[in-house]
């Protein structure tokens, strides 16, 4: 934007010609770079600390470790049981992403495109629940899972994790599908393709931006989720997810800054990699959420 408004006429004056668009851009870049470095400093500091011994961390000093060590990672991996927690989290995340995406897409399709009786009511109900804080509903959720025999299993956790954002995702899908030309469905209907196949072969492939958004958002949700896994895995620490594991590791190692930062680093690496790979789709999808 910096150069956009540099006008013809004003560019003639000497002050302005010093600040030509290129220079302006350069200055903007430098300022932004400085801000961004401060912005990510805590995370960089965390990664840096994870390679330092505790005494070096406490001594302060620069970001580059004097005697880089992997010991923190080894310790965090073993003592925080990160390996096992990692796979628990992965299991819950992948499962909940699959279930959520498919259910939200199906429901979003029906809500967005199919004029079935009760559609408006369901829409209203979903909007109504969208704004109600869910933190305190954990007891009924747990009761339900217990009654289903899933109160202490990763499956239960996976299912309950799906509940978090299903409404938002459904509305995202519904919004997206409702904007699709209905001729696509009609064409496929003329071709003798049933609603299920049409959904699967035509509509779903076309909703890739939303799918990616939902996948990333649900991954973040499942990977971040705290209260739900905390309660569900209370009785069985072997089922803990990374967030809960790191939280309790922290409870046990308040002074082991190296271990905590190493554990944290291990935890965020997969999500960050996922984000870097999918960021274009993800950002498009998020953007769609506000435009739609």
């Amino acid at each position: 934007m910096a150069d956009v408004a540099l006008s013809h006429s004003s560019a003639i004056t000497s002050r302005q010609s010093f600040l030509n668009p290129r220079r302006r851009r350069l200055i903007t870049s430098v300022v932004l770079a400085a801000i961004c470095i401060v912005w990510v400093y805590p995370l960089v500091w965390m990664v840096s600390a994870s390679f330092k011994s505790n005494s070096e961390i406490f001594a302060g000093g620069g970001l580059i470790p004097e005697n880089p060590t992997f010991e923190n990672f080894v310790r965090a991996w073993h003592e925080a049981n990160i390996g096992a927690y990692f796979f628990n989290t992965l299991f819950v995340t992948v499962g909940s992403v699959l279930i959520t995406t498919i259910s939200a897409a199906l429901m979003g399709y029906a809500l967005g495109r199919r004029p079935f009786p009760g559609r408006a009511t369901l829409f209203g109900l979903m909007l109504f629940t969208l704004f109600i804080p869910q933190g305190y509903t954990i007891i009924p959720v747990f009761e339900l899972l217990s009654n289903l025999g899933l109160g202490q299993s990763l499956w239960g956790l996976m299912l309950a994790t799906c509940g978090h954002s299903i409404v938002i995702f459904t509305l995202l899908f519904a919004g997206y599908f409702s904007q699709m030309p209905k001729e696509l469905e009609e064409a496929s209907r003329m071709d003798g393709v049933g609603p299920v196949k049409t959904f699967w072969y035509v509509m779903l492939p076309l909703s890739k931006p939303i799918i990616v958004t939902v996948v990333v958002m649900q991954t973040l949700q499942a990977w971040n989720d705290f209260l739900l896994p905390l309660v569900i895995t209370l009785a069985n620490p072997a089922l803990r997810t990374l967030s809960v594991g790191i939280y309790s590791f922290r409870g046990e190692h308040f002074i082991d800054w190296g271990g905590m930062t190493a554990g944290s680093t291990i935890t965020i690496v997969p999500v960050i990699i996922l984000f870097l790979f999918l960021q274009r789709y993800f950002i498009d999808g998020l953007a769609g959420a506000v435009k739609g």
Partner: protein, 369 residues
């Protein structure tokens, strides 16, 4: 191959009646165009034939079989959509073969049919492209190809050309006309709001308005004998000139009075009811005297093969007349016209009157005398 017969077909959306009892019979192999202004229900009617809209009342028969409650895919119809409705994530050949694939047609058979359709439409080089990589015209062909591979008895076109630019529209119109020739015996139903398309393509035109059939017939029949004001105004370009008449027939001799008070005689059995005079641009002949009316030229449009001259009448109406190329007319000139070609008369309800012909101008002098 089959004809299509609509009997008393009606459609309601809630309390809104969109189609109000339509009876149409389209013969096998016929190219029938539904034409009408926006909102006249032509697309709805087409979609009812396709099975995309439910039929509130009446019956639709295709090939003698009542299809009201038959699934779209079972009706033997194929549809080409205005927006093409190509599946964006599939290649051209996948687009064309999708329906067949989903219905378990063996792969070699699909390939064969797709290749055949591609050959007919000359889109073989495009088969592996995605719709995004195609031009509008090419997309249109793919959409038609998708219809062809289904080998339907009835082709349904829903304004297939409206998304194309003018030049392409003309070219594609020709292609469709050719296609109709190639696909021997295929019945085609074509919806458009463009009367030129209707005139050029149709074996038969159905003019619709407000969910009713205004007139049905061959193009020239409609052009020459519009059943009512609406059809008369809708068919033909430039639009037919309409001039309000005041019937002044006294006694035996019917006559009509133009808004400026000039009068001319009328003859014919229904002459007394004439309320509107309709005359196309080529029905006005410039005359030196005894013209029906005189006006001042406001605009001259040179089209090369013709000249359209817009004339302001004394009562302030703008009338268009066709001149031969090279006609020497200038803006600001006054010019008199006589009714030199086919004229149309309509009664107060807009119904076309048959057999009414204009007679001589009744001069002021005679009048005053």
């Amino acid at each position: 191959m089959a004809g299509v017969k609509l009997t008393g077909v009606a459609k309601k959306f809630g309390a809104v009646e969109v189609i109000r009892g339509v009876d149409i019979e389209i013969g096998e192999g016929e190219f029938c165009v539904f034409v009408g202004p926006s909102g006249c229900g032509k697309s709805t009617l087409l979609r009812m034939i396709a099975g995309l809209e439910e039929i509130t009342a009446g019956s639709v028969e295709i090939g003698g079989r009542r299809v009201n409650d038959i699934d779209p895919s079972e009706r033997g119809t194929a549809m080409v959509f205005q927006t093409y409705a190509l599946y964006p994530h599939m290649t051209v050949s996948q687009n064309m073969g999708f329906g067949l694939r989903m219905n378990g047609v063996p792969k070699p058979e699909i390939a064969k049919r797709v290749a055949e359709a591609a050959r007919i439409l000359q889109i073989e080089p495009l088969l592996d492209r995605k719709p995004k990589q195609l031009s509008g015209g090419q997309r249109q062909r793919v959409a038609i190809g998708r219809a062809i591979v289904r080998d339907p008895q009835v082709f349904l076109f829903d304004e297939p050309l409206s998304n194309l630019d003018a030049e392409l529209r003309v070219a594609t119109r020709l292609e469709i006309a050719k296609l109709h020739g190639q696909l021997q015996g295929s019945t085609m139903i074509y919806v458009t709001h463009d009367q030129v398309e209707a005139m050029t393509l149709a074996d038969r035109i159905v003019v619709l308005r407000d969910g009713r059939v205004e007139q049905m017939g061959e193009p020239m029949e409609l052009y020459e004998r519009p059943a009512n004001l609406f059809v008369a105004g809708f068919i033909g370009s430039p639009k037919m000139n309409f001039i309000k008449l005041r019937a002044t027939g006294d006694g035996g001799q019917p006559a009509a009075e133009l808004p400026d008070g000039s009068r001319f005689a009328l003859s014919g059995p229904e002459a007394n009811g004439a309320a509107t005079l309709g005359v196309r641009a080529d029905g006005l002949k410039p005359v030196d005297r005894d013209g029906v009316f005189t006006g001042e030229i406001t605009v001259v449009e040179q089209l090369g093969d013709a000249v359209f001259v817009y004339v302001r009448t004394p009562w302030g109406q703008e009338i268009v007349a066709r001149f031969e190329p090279g006609a020497k007319v200038r803006v600001g000139e006054r010019i008199s016209f006589a009714l030199g070609g086919r004229t149309h008369f309509f009664d107060a309800d807009g119904r076309g009157l048959t057999g009414v012909t204009p007679g001589n101008t009744i001069s002021e002098a005679r009048l005053s005398a």
